[in-house]
């Protein structure tokens, strides 16, 4: 328990990320509406993918059912508007909570299984919700989904919608990032590496995984809200197992082992899909082929490739090396003290 209750290290947002957000915020000034919607969609998917990666990359839990919470987020907004005429600003807050609670419930059931069975169970939950939403016409709008003026006027302006999406996604990603950097996140990774050892050290594995599942569900639902902002509608396909597959593939494509890897994957996928959709034939073929190549040749994803490239270039231009390895090189150069490859000093065990 102590690992969860201890506060994480101080809130240090890399200057780089702030710069990235600033650049993206320039979007509405620089891009056409179509391109803007494109990036907006990608940003929302980035949140979805990174939230899923909390489970996959950090937790080692391959869930093929995060679409369930994505859909719950979107449908909470849509149905609250349809049946209760609720204000978007209210449902914006309620939807992720509903997603988190649902994830808690599902997690209690699903986390009793391991590995492949866990993946299949989450897939079944996703599909279950899909058929229920499709069939219960009168409550959910059925196969066609829910359409209508469910967004407040403020968000009908493309620029506003874009900045809103960017802001919400940035905050969501920030919180997720803090979670991964916290002792909780470290413990989660330790569990992923070696579950038995973690248990032997007294870690409550089930609780950690359950919390990770809950957090993931919360943020996947938030991503679902962003979907509604983009599409002004909700449809049952959001729950299907194929939809659940997308954040997984984005994580694989971009890189599961870096926090923003899935975000990169989302961006690449979004652009590629747009280009492929225009030529309707063979988009599936290309997508499948790319996935195959990535898994077989570059399992670290594009981010991993970029990292490797950076290290290679750093041999020629040391200035390009990532900060930690530069510190290590500097320490080694300044003489004597043994440093580990990532810059931490080696201490002898007595």
């Amino acid at each position: 328990m102590t690992t969860i209750l201890r506060k994480p290290a101080s809130l240090r947002v890399p200057a780089g990320v702030i710069a990235l957000i600033v650049v993206l915020a320039l979007g509405p000034r620089v891009l056409s509406t179509a391109a803007l919607l494109n990036v907006q969609d990608a940003v929302g998917l980035a949140l979805f993918a990174c939230a899923t990666n909390l489970l996959i990359g950090y937790g080692g839990l391959v869930s093929f059912g995060q679409g369930a919470f994505y859909g719950i987020g979107a449908y909470t907004v849509a149905l609250a508007w349809m049946h209760l005429n609720a204000s978007f600003w209210v449902t914006l807050v309620v939807a992720p909570v509903v997603g988190g609670v649902a994830a808690l419930a599902v997690g209690l059931l699903a986390l009793r299984t391991r590995q492949l069975y866990f993946a299949l169970l989450t897939l079944a939950v996703s599909q279950l919700l899909y058929v229920i939403v499709q069939q219960q016409e009168s409550f959910t709008g059925g196969a066609d989904g829910v359409f209508g003026p469910m967004l407040p006027g403020f968000l009908l302006n493309p620029g506003n919608a874009y900045w809103f999406t960017l802001a919400v996604a940035a905050i969501g990603l920030l919180v997720l990032w803090q979670i991964t950097r916290s002792p909780f996140g470290m413990t989660l990774r330790a569990i992923r590496e070696n579950r038995e050892r973690a248990e032997a050290l007294g870690v409550n594995v089930f609780l950690h995984q359950l919390l990770a599942f809950t957090f993931s569900g919360f943020f996947c639902a938030l991503a679902g809200v962003l979907y509604v902002v983009w599409g002004q509608s909700a449809n049952p396909n959001l729950f299907s197992w194929t939809e659940s597959g997308y954040p997984i593939f984005m994580a694989v494509l971009g890189g599961q082992y870096m926090f923003l890897g899935p975000a990169l994957g989302a961006l690449i996928y979004e652009q590629a899909r747009d280009v492929l959709l225009a030529s309707f034939s063979d988009s599936q073929l290309v997508f499948g082929a790319v996935l195959l190549v990535i898994i077989l040749a570059a399992p670290d994803g594009v981010a991993g490739l970029l990292n490797r490239g950076r290290r290679l270039l750093a041999r020629r231009w040391p200035g390009l090396a990532p900060a930690t390895s530069r510190a290590a090189a500097a320490a080694r150069a300044s003489g004597g003290q043994d440093t580990k490859p990532d810059g931490r000093p080696e201490t002898a065990v007595r």
């Binding site: 780089g16 993206l24 179509a34 196969a143 066609d144 599409g231 396909n237 280009v275």
Partner: protein
């Protein structure tokens, strides 16, 4: 001191380099993807010479791909004929297409990209009503005329209607009305026992409800013995059909279509459905071709545009041209697509420009010459007053076309018998 600041600055720059580069790359990629999103660049329609793009955003993959592909083929044929005659207002037309994969979100993206990247001056809509409703919203938002010729939910011309939308197919009120007339012709006044089976979603449920209501209006008295609503995408209908047979109906109304109807027919044949009851369903040329010798002779059939019942010279010419271009006979969706393209071209010629408001005004209330004859487009809801033919499935192979089609006793109700008057 200064070196420390410089160090800090350089450090910040290094840390920020990769993310900033990523951000710029993202925006650049988005900008590039948008501008190259189309299959062909287009010039502004106002310049003389050059080309003009029209967009087809339909379902081109998955279980209903043949509907969307047929529509696209029909539209492309119309466009190639227009171009060979010198184009429209001196410009060549290019068809740009996108696949919505039967997913509303993808449909929205594709439609928006067609409008914003390819600057299409007209859109032709999708197969499913769900996607179509989304497309209608977008077309209305950006003021682009959109022609629906496959999706035919009556909501498109009522609930979600805006002036830029046109429906060229008989809608979900008209189609069941035609089916009801066909059943009434067989039944007389009854009383009879009827069962229904239809897919469990908007289209299916609305069709059955409208059919039963229309049957009553046509003076037929009946009792409903059983109603089955298999889930969308069900692959087996044997349990439902078996349940229906147990209730001993004399007539069965089937709402399934396309591949599902093929499956249902095959499974129904095995259960004796067609010998024990009289079945009515959308037995169009694609279903009949797939079934071949297994097509149920004598079954009531309806079709939105059965080419073999129309012996006008323009239809014959179209069928020949279509067969030459694509190697198969045109389905109803190819014909409605072709007619939709003809309607749009007519609107452009009447308006003398490609402008959306001009075309919309020209078409509203107009009578348009199409391959199906002259069709009036109502001004109140832009629903085309089109017929829906019904008949019975033939037992012998059609001499001209080499496949089993319908018997000669085709019913062709006038649109006024089918359509609800404008409110």
């Amino acid at each position: 001191m200064r070196t420390k600041h410089r160090q800090l600055g350089r450090d910040l720059l290094r840390r920020a380099l990769l993310p900033v580069a990523a951000g710029c790359a993202a925006l650049l990629a988005a900008g590039c993807a948008s501008s190259s999103g189309g299959a062909a660049p287009s010039n502004s329609p106002s310049s003389s010479g050059g080309t003009v793009d029209i967009g087809v955003a339909s379902t081109l993959s998955g279980p209903f791909a043949d509907y969307g592909t047929a529509g696209l083929d029909g539209i492309k044929l119309a466009v190639s004929q227009i171009n060979s005659e010198g184009g429209l207002l001196g410009k060549k037309i290019t068809v740009v297409s996108g696949d919505d994969q039967l997913d509303p979100a993808t449909g929205e993206t594709v439609t928006r990209n067609l409008i914003l990247n390819d600057h299409v001056v007209a859109l032709f809509g999708s197969v499913s009503s769900g996607v179509a409703a989304a497309q209608e919203q977008i077309a209305g938002q950006y003021h682009v005329p959109i022609f629906f010729h496959i999706a035919n939910d009556v909501g498109l011309t009522t609930k979600t209607f805006n002036k830029y939308a046109f429906e060229l197919s008989p809608n979900t009120d008209m189609e069941p009305a035609a089916a009801a007339l066909a059943f009434a012709r067989e039944i007389g006044h009854g009383p009879v026992r009827i069962a229904t089976i239809t897919p469990n979603y908007d289209f299916g449920l609305d069709t059955v409800a409208a059919f039963l209501a229309d049957l009553k209006k046509d003076g037929v008295s009946y009792t409903v013995t059983d109603q089955q609503t298999p889930a969308l995408g069900a692959t087996s209908f044997t349990s439902q059909l078996s349940a229906i047979l147990t209730s001993s109906p004399q007539y069965v109304f089937v709402g399934e279509y396309g591949a599902d109807l093929v499956t249902l027919t095959k499974q129904g044949l095995g259960l004796g459905l067609f010998s024990k009851t009289k079945v009515g369903a959308m037995y169009d040329v694609e279903v009949l071709q797939a079934l071949g010798a297994q097509a149920p002779a004598g079954a009531i059939a309806w079709d939105r545009a059965p080419f073999w019942t129309d012996d006008s010279s323009q239809m014959q010419a179209f069928v020949t041209a279509y067969k030459a271009a694509y190697g198969s006979y045109p389905s109803e969706f190819a014909i409605t697509g072709y007619s939709a393209a003809q309607a749009w071209a007519y609107g452009v010629k009447q308006a003398g420009s490609f402008s959306a408001d001009g075309v919309v005004a020209a078409l509203s209330g107009a009578t348009v010459p199409t391959v199906r004859g002259d069709i009036t487009i109502r001004s109140c809801d832009h629903q085309a007053e089109v017929p829906e033919e019904t008949g019975t499935v033939a037992s012998a192979v059609n001499a001209t076309y080499g496949i089993r089609l319908w018997n000669a006793d085709v019913l062709s109700p006038s649109p006024s018998q089918l359509i609800e008057p404008c409110s």
